[in-house]
Symmetry: C2
Subunit: 326 residues, 2 copies
Amino acid sequence: MQKKGELVSYRPDIKVVDCTLRDGGLVNNFEFSEEFVRDLYKTNIKSGIDYMEFGYKASKEIFDVNKFGKWKFCDEEDIRSIVGDNDTDLKISVMADVGRTDFRKDIIDKKDSVIDLVRVATYINTIPAALEMVEYCNKKGYETTINIMAISKSNDSDLDDALELIGHSCVDTIYLVDSYGSLYPEQMRRLASKYLECADKYNKKIGIHAHNNQQLAFANTIETLTMGVSYLDSTVSSLGRGAGNCPTELLLGFLKNPKYDITPVLKFIENHINKLKADGVVWGYDIPYLLTGRLNQHPRDAIQFTADNRTDYSAFYQYLFDKDCG
Amino acid sequence: MQKKGELVSYRPDIKVVDCTLRDGGLVNNFEFSEEFVRDLYKTNIKSGIDYMEFGYKASKEIFDVNKFGKWKFCDEEDIRSIVGDNDTDLKISVMADVGRTDFRKDIIDKKDSVIDLVRVATYINTIPAALEMVEYCNKKGYETTINIMAISKSNDSDLDDALELIGHSCVDTIYLVDSYGSLYPEQMRRLASKYLECADKYNKKIGIHAHNNQQLAFANTIETLTMGVSYLDSTVSSLGRGAGNCPTELLLGFLKNPKYDITPVLKFIENHINKLKADGVVWGYDIPYLLTGRLNQHPRDAIQFTADNRTDYSAFYQYLFDKDCG
């Protein structure tokens, strides 16, 4: 597959999607201060970020609103309390999980909403339900994506079938997601090539959402971007579940479009991220996440190991290994 | 260039070179405890590591022996106090800097030494002096490498000339070094291709020494390895100057040769690395290193910024930027 763009120029089709609140919310139960959210919104505008994902549109039937911060639900008025009518170039995104969103109730007409993009997260065995949501949101007037999770556990022919199915839908962008941070650059390039073939055939765009279990989130993002992937997820200082995501500050350092400015992100880190760490919020690359990533496992055991302040890495590795063989 | 090997098999020509003491010594002035060094030696043997670099052969005329730990000088008896006659499969390496080594005095006949490999570190403008050292060490009976530093500041034609010159020497292995952690995978692949052409022509091997300023040390190592690079530098938990190196635990997780075992490395981390951090030794990826890496600068300003416990990243970035334009 032909390389798209080179290092000294830029591709205007590139879009950076800030997932700090959404993936970061998985670390702190979406309990962000007003100031954090407001400053992040301003930072994203100043940095030239293209989309800001505020959180999930989670079902209030399934999840108790008293047990989570408001960004798990992203009520229209809560977003508006930050962005007003969002008279800016920054677009607003929310994520909707298949089976965990009352989309017919909670996703209103686009004309009444400041939300621009609804991203539907699905496993490969719930694609038809994801497509139902996508068709619904598309009719309501939103841009849409489908993010297929856990593909490192799927086989190639299922993935081919899934992409074919999605290709026929009205979705705008299909996301290549490395849920477990288990994929090496050469595997990501192979997958990106597959996704981009589908994109060419059906006139879609391809996005990437990487995890940093093996310190490969940034590398995998820029490697697939070079092939033509154009929607790039990142979070400030990697903030996100487990090992976190592709760091925005690394990504903006790589992108050459002069509209992107790293300085506001650096200021945000100074003002908020070090405080978040001091407050005991824990995320980012560490040995336990490397081990689940390497073994292509969900990070939940590593998150627990970290929460328990354990450091018996070799025993933990043996446990994970035995579990896989059990 | 043709890909060498694939993900499910392994290449027997791959050698892992542990630089924990040598690059890590730049962080703590080579003040490692006996126990640390002894356990690292045992760990390397058990993990199937191919070479262990104990430190530098630094000149005692230039450097005061009272101001550094002994691994800056690597006296024969000090290495022997750890390895005896080293009756193992693990080979012993030392690094010798051009202009900072009394090689004619301090590098003795191989038959009287437990050292197997002398690695000569040089800038591109001191290659003739490096070659003189290589010829000397080769005649004494050692394996040799030349590690060309700071190539991200060199131009292509100088580098071509340097490789041609080195190709004609008796050196065994030429190292591709990303001194400032500034190079992206596509740049590293382009450079690796150039080095590998020289290797093919003159029957040399190519090694890689990466720095982690942009979280690319591991990615750059495995990407160039896939092209045919065979000597891979790594350090336990990235221990090394500034942002550190390619982490051994990530590298061994990638390599498929059954002789490599990650478990002893995990045990070493449990027993020593967390203690080192608790003792206040600071290294590894952080914002200041990302910024010097991104700007292709020596990490010294970032090391000072970190030592000063500063967090005004945006002002620091402006300072670095202005310096470059000054």
